[in-house]
């Protein structure tokens, strides 16, 4: 993360250091396109995004259509992935089930990243009592797995898509703030900050225009890492019955609705949504891994 600091030799003279974002060559991010792991991850992600957006139009059946005469039917030519307890087509539900998690998880991550970056910048740059108090609060939130805290608040507030986004975003805020704070601390001793202060720049301007561009790679890595955990959290909450609510097709919720019949041998109800979640998580991780490698040089 320190590779984004000012190059001491070729760094611009003090007067312009304030304006020129130092060393953020676009060429570095183009390296991503040469990484097979990144391309594979993006391909899987793109597949699910297409399913999420257009799934309704090419799914073989309506994901909500029940056929109570053909419940728990094994995979066949008519229903490739079989049918669930209510006789709904599992393939269609897997295709359309991509929709909600694919906007809830990124929005929650985005919210957490924006708030966390702001908090981390202030904590790291101002330091002092604010940093001390905020750090304690951050640690208290971190003393529990994110899933548990999210669970507690969503149970209390009642599940809805908006609650999911807000709660997960707010829980990610301290996690991201801590990473950003650490990155800011590494910047704080560098020469460009006193230079900016001498130019008469205020704290808000310095944080937003001087420090932020330099910690942006760390923020980006944190965003992709957190996106994986957001998917984990949304899927888990849905599985516990407090995430995306039925009858909306959703992988986690569908597993929750059908896992009781798994011991009876009806594996297709739950296995296919489970594999869908696994593939989405793996895709995000392939992207994360590449972004991390490139950001760290």
């Amino acid at each position: 993360m320190t590779d984004t600091t000012v190059n001491p030799i070729s760094g611009p003279p003090v007067g312009t250091a304030a304006v020129v974002p130092v060393q953020a060559p676009p060429a570095r991010w183009q390296l991503l396109l040469r990484r097979p792991t990144f391309l594979n991850g993006v391909a899987i992600l793109a597949f699910w995004i297409v399913c999420a957006v257009f799934g309704g139009s090419f799914a073989p059946h309506s994901p909500l259509a029940q056929d109570l005469l053909a419940t728990n039917a094994a995979p066949s030519g008519a229903h490739w992935f079989g049918t669930d307890q209510l006789g709904r087509d599992v393939l269609s539900r897997v295709i359309t089930g991509a929709r909600d998690i694919l906007y809830v998880a990124p929005l929650a991550t985005l919210l957490g990243t924006v708030l966390g970056t702001a908090l981390g910048l202030v904590m790291g740059y101002l330091g002092g009592a604010f940093d001390l108090i905020a750090s304690r609060l951050v640690e208290a939130v971190l003393a529990l797995p994110a899933v548990i805290i999210a669970f507690l608040f969503i149970v209390a507030l009642g599940p809805s898509t908006l609650t999911l986004i807000l709660v997960i975003g707010l829980i990610f805020t301290p996690l991201i703030a801590r990473t950003v704070r650490a990155a800011v601390l590494a910047e704080r001793d560098l020469d460009y900050l006193p230079a900016a202060r001498l130019l008469g720049e205020g704290p808000a301007w310095i944080m937003a225009r001087e420090i932020l561009p330099n910690v942006l790679p760390a923020v980006l890595v944190e965003f992709t890492v957190r996106l994986g955990y957001a998917i984990f959290t949304v899927a888990t909450l849905s599985f516990l019955g407090f995430g995306i609510q039925p009858p909306t097709p959703d992988w986690g919720a569908d597993i929750y609705a059908n896992y009781a019949v798994l011991p009876a041998g009806y594996w297709w109800d739950t296995l296919f949504p489970a594999l869908a979640i696994a593939s989405l998580v793996t895709a995000v991780n392939l992207v994360t891994d590449s972004v991390e490698q490139v950001a760290n040089g």
Binding site: T37, A146, V147, A156, A235, W267
Partner: protein
């Protein structure tokens, strides 16, 4: 050292206190009537009112918090809405069950994770390393119920080797209980494997690049001796922290695993409390996880300080290194 211990304990208590406020407030958000929740829909309005008064529902928030926290400190976690018995008894039994499952997962994952990390480090940058790293990261972020479904489909409904439920039933022998716990342990192992392997890999890579390793190799020591006596000894310190801090996470991950496998542990208790809107039980369960986590982190810090002279906090100038190391370790453990 004593000073360090006191400060560390103080921080832990402060964290737990803030946590108790958060948990308490979450329980107060819910609009609803505890008296009605306990007595059910058919109870008379006067009975509900009497119970509400007894529970102190109308009192100011601060009074209720003080009463709740005072009870907790005396081991009184309140009365479960849905079971109408003391929460403390329910939590105690459930915690014991969870610890059994967690212990099994630990015994399996620690050697596997360390071996995976060391193998990846020895092949750093090669395909095997990337496979272990990406697979570990994916396993760590695939929700437990997903891998749980896959192992049930393969080993229970498919091959019929193991039972799909975790509870062996009353009066079952130790061996039967053990058999029932194998499948539920696997998702936990998969989630933890990634973290432990990652730390072991990073530590080993650092140790491999260190001067003492080169010296040992140049002395002509056999490669295995260099690895076991010089590299591993140093590389596994941060891993120990991660392993210890993962205890708390493990207990948290049990909510999902225990629900899927229908095992009566702390996680399942929290799940049932949530579904029944049984807030005293939910709050007690969540706070118990917080306490277990705090104790595990404390234990990890003390163990690390004891094992590594470099991290002992006495000389002022070196504390930075110590905080950096523990911050890194806890960052790894954040989930």
């Amino acid at each position: 050292m004593a000073m360090f211990l006191v400060r560390r304990l103080g921080l832990m208590l402060l964290t737990l206190w803030i946590l108790s406020v958060i948990v308490f407030l979450a329980g107060q958000v819910l609009p609803g009537d505890p008296g009605r929740a306990i007595l059910g829909n058919f109870a008379s309005a006067s009975a509900v009112k009497a119970l509400d008064e007894q529970l102190g529902v109308g009192q100011p928030l601060l009074n209720r918090y003080l009463e709740w926290i005072g009870g907790l400190l005396h081991g009184d976690m309140g009365l479960s809405y849905s079971y109408r018995t003391a929460v403390a008894t329910l939590v105690g039994g459930a915690l014991l069950n969870s610890l059994k499952l967690a212990a099994l997962a630990f015994v399996l994952v620690v050697p596997l994770g360390i071996a995976g990390g060391v193998i990846a480090a020895l092949n750093a940058g090669k395909p095997l390393d990337r496979v272990i790293s990406v697979a570990g990261l994916s396993a760590a972020t695939v929700p437990e119920f997903v891998s749980g479904i896959v192992v049930i489909v393969i080993f229970s409904t498919g091959l019929r080797w193991l039972p799909s439920g975790a509870s062996a039933g009353p009066g079952a022998g130790d061996l039967t209980q053990f058999q029932h716990l194998i499948l539920p342990a696997i998702p936990l192992v998969l989630v933890l494997f990634g973290y432990i392997a990652r730390m072991a890999r990073a530590g080993t890579i650092d140790a491999l690049a260190a001067d003492y390793t080169r010296t040992a190799a140049l002395k002509g020591l056999p490669a295995t001796t260099v690895l076991t006596r010089h590299v591993l000894r140093n590389s596994l310190l941060p891993t120990i922290t991660v392993i210890a801090t993962q205890t708390g996470y493990l207990i948290g991950g049990l909510v999902v695993t225990e629900t899927l496998f229908n095992y009566h542990g702390l996680g399942n208790l929290i799940f049932r409390a949530a579904t029944a809107k049984d807030f005293p039980m939910l709050e007690a369960g969540v706070l118990t996880i917080g306490v277990v986590y705090a104790l595990a982190t404390l234990g990890a810090d003390l163990l690390l300080t004891y094992l590594s002279p470099r991290l002992r906090p006495a000389p002022r100038a070196r504390t930075a290194a110590s905080t950096a190391a523990s911050a890194q370790a806890s960052a790894e453990a954040a989930q």
